[in-house]
């Protein structure tokens, strides 16, 4: 039985407090008027002279140019308003990226867990309690994301411009999509998805605990069946979720493999966190039966899904780059012109690092090596979500500063707090899982 150590609890609370200060700071620092916004950019631009000209020339490439076109106002005035919107969006976008990222980790773990259940995998039952602990975060994490989406619908921010009736009124494309992309249906979908994920998580956990105390395998069999059914629901809901929660920040643009792309990101982040939590608990001597081969298998998944992510990233990129159709390619034009470092840095972190570090079989068994690679992978996939959300919401006014770091620290603290509190509520090793013996003797 694991007890949530005081040191870890205090560390997570400190993270939350520091992070919360950063989040509040981000909102306080955001400009309130056009004059303030211009002043901020002007003082910022002193350092690197000509950047304003560059900004003006491609300012229209972000999708929010719909606002400018529609109003038919003088360009300068609408540009200034646009700038103000971007700067006001920044703390919201920073909050949203971090909230989504940590929710995505636990959702990725939930998918991995459901696959292990549905496949009746023999190697992984020793890790089930670790996975269940991580998926516990889906409850607060999912609700926080939902609240942010709700606040967007209530017009507290401009993350999703299609929620603004004024924008839609001047945009034929958005009018065409409004049967699907409207605030009410959007929230209904979000509520259904979260209810489905959280419902499966809680029910499966209950069955998993009941299996330990029961004298037959009925709980295990039921868990197998609901997991298989859940995977069907998950694949559909995850795909639609990625269109709704991420792709729709850029409502004119679409990609048909976006759902898979986000899935790869959440899957590899989730598996990485399973490996890290397992290694942490094992280093405390709490998972005595977990051996090198379990870590090796998780590291193989980290390696393989990193390559899978790259494959999807490149498949999406190359087709759009090659065909060079204006309405499609704008997505990458903004990212390559304004986000060069995060955009290409992300590929190094998500592909080159894991491929080179985890290629050697022996390295996959060295705990600190797996943790080190894991940190790079998690950083890279945070950047992935950052690159998906930021260009459409804050344009070229991005920076990894107080709002971004504060948000990451806050949600990291909350994540650690919630996950380890959940881990402490049940024995870390399932007793009566029919495959537990196989898992104990798992040998690669």
């Amino acid at each position: 039985m694991y007890t949530f150590s005081n040191r870890l609890k205090i560390a997570s609370i400190i993270l939350m407090i520091v992070g919360a200060l950063g989040i509040v700071g981000g909102f306080v620092m955001a400009p309130g008027s056009i004059e303030e916004a211009k002043e901020m950019v002007a003082s910022h631009d002193d350092g690197h002279g000509a950047s304003h000209a560059v900004e003006a020339s491609h300012g229209g490439t972000t999708n929010e140019h719909a606002v400018a076109e529609g109003h038919g106002e003088e360009h300068d005035a609408s540009h200034d308003q646009h700038l103000l919107d971007q700067l006001k969006n920044r703390p919201w976008a920073a909050l949203y990226v971090a909230a989504f990222f940590f929710m995505m980790i636990s959702l990725g773990v939930l998918a991995f867990y459901a696959i292990q259940r549905a496949a009746q995998a023999g190697w992984s039952p020793l890790l089930f309690r670790v996975m269940e602990g991580i998926t516990a975060y889906l409850v607060p994490g999912g609700i926080i994301v939902f609240v942010i989406l709700l606040l967007s619908v209530l017009d507290m921010n401009h993350l999703f411009i299609w929620m603004d009736a004024d924008v839609v009124a001047h945009d034929a494309l958005l009018q065409g999509k409004s049967g699907y992309l409207n605030p009410t249906f959007f929230l209904i979908r979000a509520a259904i998805f979260l209810a489905g994920w959280i419902g499966y998580r809680e029910y499966s956990r209950k069955l998993s605990l009941a299996q330990d105390e029961s004298d037959d395998n009925s709980n295990f069999k039921l868990n197998f069946r609901i997991s298989a059914a859940f995977l069907v629901f998950y694949l559909i809901s995850e795909s639609i979720m990625s269109w709704d929660w991420i792709m729709s920040v850029e409502p004119h643009w679409f990609s048909t493999l976006f759902g898979w792309y986000i899935f790869a990101s959440m899957f590899v982040s989730g598996i990485t966190v399973i490996a890290m939590v397992t290694i942490y608990l094992k280093s405390k001597g709490l998972l005595p039966d977990v051996n090198d081969s379990h870590i090796h298998d998780l590291a193989k998944f980290m390696f393989g899904i990193s390559v899978f992510w790259t494959y999807l990233w490149f498949s999406q990129f190359m087709l759009i780059w090659y065909s060079n159709i204006p309405e499609e390619v704008t997505y990458y034009v903004t990212r390559i012109s304004d986000y060069k470092l995060p955009f290409f840095g992300m590929i190094a972190m998500n592909f080159l690092f894991p491929v080179l570090l985890l290629m050697n079989s022996d390295y996959k068994r060295i705990s600190w090596f797996v943790v080190l690679t894991g940190i790079v992978i998690l950083g890279g996939h945070y950047m992935d979500i950052f690159n998906a959300i930021m260009p459409s919401t804050v344009g070229d006014q991005w920076f990894i500063g107080i709002p971004e770091i504060g948000s990451v620290l806050f949600f990291a603290g909350l994540f650690i707090f919630w996950v380890f509190r959940a881990l402490a509520t049940a024995p870390l090793q399932p007793k009566r899982n029919p495959f537990i013996e196989e898992s104990k003797h798992f040998h690669y």
């Binding site: 490149f314 990129f317 190359m318 780059w321 090659y322 065909s323 060079n324 050697n360 079989s361 040998h443």
Partner: protein, 176 residues
Amino acid sequence: MASKVIHAFYDDDDVLMHAVKKVKAAKHHIEEVYCPFPVHGLDKAMGLAPTRIAITSFLYGCVGLTVAVLMMNYIMIEDWPQDIGGKPSFSYIENMPAFVPIMFELTVFFAAHLMVITFYLRSRLWPFKEAENPDVRTTDDHFLMEIEIHDNEQELKDLLMQTGAVEINISEKNSH
């Protein structure tokens, strides 16, 4: 040079594994084990050195990647530049995304094929080569352990009988 070897037959891979461990524990050198299918963990039990084929595979992959880059650079940029889809081929790096599938494919192609060829060379295998296994049953349902005899025939026989061998033969062998 001809030498005398002892052949012990087994009809179960678990029994074989235990036998190999026992023979190793008795400090005898196992010349070879012939199996109808790969037995997991047998290489470790026999004390064989870990394979280095993965390293060669990585190097061959690097060769393949290099070949792909040089080849596409020559074909598409230097020798006959074309304007495909409004993307004139003037620089390798700017047209690189179009070459990534080729770079990937040749990396895999070189790594896979050269690795297989290396494996064949290292195992002394070539087309129409006569089989080396001393008994045809090792291609069906029997496992065979081969140990060289150094004036300890009886001792080895007793040991192998204890380990559950179903048949023991002594034969002459021409070492290569």
